[in-house]
Amino acid sequence: MHDELKQKISVLLDNELPSKDALELLEQICAQPGLQKQMERYQAIGSVLKKEPIILPDIDFSARIREQLEHEPNYLLRQTKPKLFKQHYKWMALAASIAFLAVLALPNRLLVENNPTGSLPLADAQKVIDPIQPENPQSGRDHANQRFNDYLQAHDNSVYTNGEAHFQPYARVATFERE
């Protein structure tokens, strides 16, 4: 069996496979009994290690549903045709849209007249709020995570065996000297 498929099954069971890839893989699993067995084995190993009760997926489940659907009778009900959009409704909708825009534009115009700088009041309001927020909170979090990652990697070897797909080796994030 292809190693790549095995890896994908493992990632799928960890709920980390993107949905598109997961659908493709599930189709392949349905088509290949070997893959079905492989998935059962991986799930059993995972359940044992996590001390969970082993619940193996019933591979025939989808086949039985499909079979039942095929035996369902077809009901040929009369469909109602959608009514045609009458021409005069278009003009009414256009008029309503113009009226709505006019209502929106009027207060803004009045505010601009009272504001000699011409800047939008909404933008000014944001300016007042923004300084309270950190400039880039994500950057702060990344920095913290990076720092803890550095500490953890300097602490012990667990980073090499912890199963983190995106683990960065310590040497990438610290200052190094070539040997």
Binding site: G46, Y151, T161, N162, E177
Partner: protein, 331 residues
């Protein structure tokens, strides 16, 4: 009648204490044999690491050749990599990018299990007991329970194969007795001989190996230069193992790193001085964080950022962090 009852009670109590001491000594003897076997046998197998809810399955090789010991891991899942440990040097080759990373640890530590060379000094912190026999990877094993005598460390169970005394399974439990980590062999085989792997040579022979990175080897620094001292710890059993001062991040900022251990659990204390390493209020990380069995506690003392982490309960890292004092003449 009362005298007879007292005699019987004393006899039973003595019998219980003697048998308990005996089983504790048996457990320690088995663990000592494990330390020797782990270091001197050639063996290989498939090992699964379950940490932080992630399962990592790897091929494992241990080589002992004329006094030289080597551990090797081959990952079975992405990111594919080969990791070799020669004493305190760890080399990691990423298969996809051909990138080689060489890292140096403060002290040689096994990928599987850290066992102290001497268990006699651990009586104040842990008790040892054989709690049963089970089969792991179709091999009969003793089950040794290592129970902490306080709430400052985690309990462990180690399944040890009964002929060669190799560890087949390790579990770490939190204070609620929930499993935090597992390392388990699904198959293991002892060999007469296994070949050492020279990662430096492999890198040289491979034309397409990408430029690697090499970490600076941490050298033992004199403890007198440390920016920190540890005051009176409310926790018994932790001793200083290693102190070093070296850059840890992208900058040249030096960090003090003090490694403590009670034999099974290890704790690192890091101190970095503000204005260089800790640039702003946003970069202070005061408080507690947890990653699986590892807990972090950070606090700021004057200009210093103190971070304590280890595979111990949260209250332990907090207690150690609160016992840290910064010297006046720190850099």
């Amino acid at each position: 009648m009362i005298v007879i009852k007292r005699i019987v009670f004393t006899f039973l109590l003595t019998f219980y204490l003697v048998s308990k001491a005996d089983t504790e000594q048996q457990a320690k003897d088995i663990l000592m044999k494990t330390v020797h076997s782990m270091a001197t046998l050639n063996y290989q197998g498939t090992v699964a690491f379950l940490r932080n809810g992630k399962l990592e399955t790897m091929k494992y090789f241990h080589v002992y050749d004329h006094g030289v010991e080597q551990e090797r891991l081959l990952s079975l899942n992405s990111p594919l990599r080969e990791i070799v440990r020669d004493a305190d040097k760890v080399s990691c080759l990423f298969k996809a990018t051909k990138q080689m990373v060489v890292d140096h640890r403060p002290s040689p530590r096994s990928f599987l299990l850290d066992l102290p060379k001497n268990l006699d000094g651990l009586n104040e912190a842990y008790s040892f007991e054989i709690v049963g026999q089970e089969d792991i990877a179709m091999l009969p094993a003793f089950v040794i329970k290592i129970e902490p005598k306080d709430e400052f460390r985690y309990a462990r169970k180690i399944w040890i194969e009964q002929k060669q005394y190799l560890p087949l399974k390790v579990e770490v439990y939190d204070v609620q007795n929930m499993t935090l980590e597992q390392v388990v062999f699904t198959d293991i085989e002892v060999k007469d001989k296994l070949a050492l792997v020279d990662m430096d040579r492999e890198q040289t022979l491979s034309d397409d190996t990408a430029t690697g990175y090499v970490s600076a080897a941490p050298k033992q620094s004199p403890a007198e230069i440390a920016a920190l001292t540890i005051g009176n710890l409310p926790i018994m059993g932790f001793r200083e193992i290693f102190f070093t001062r070296r850059p840890l991040h992208r900058s040249d900022q030096l960090a003090d790193h003090l490694l403590l251990s009670d034999g099974f659990a290890s704790v690192s204390v890091y101190v970095e001085i503000k204005n260089t390493g800790v640039k702003s209020e946003q970069e202070k990380f005061d408080g507690m964080q947890s990653v699986g069995a590892v807990n972090f506690f950070s606090r700021t003392i004057n200009d210093a950022q103190v971070t304590v982490l280890g595979d111990v309960p949260a209250k332990t890292v907090k207690a150690i962090a609160q016992a840290v004092k910064i010297k006046q003449s720190s850099p």
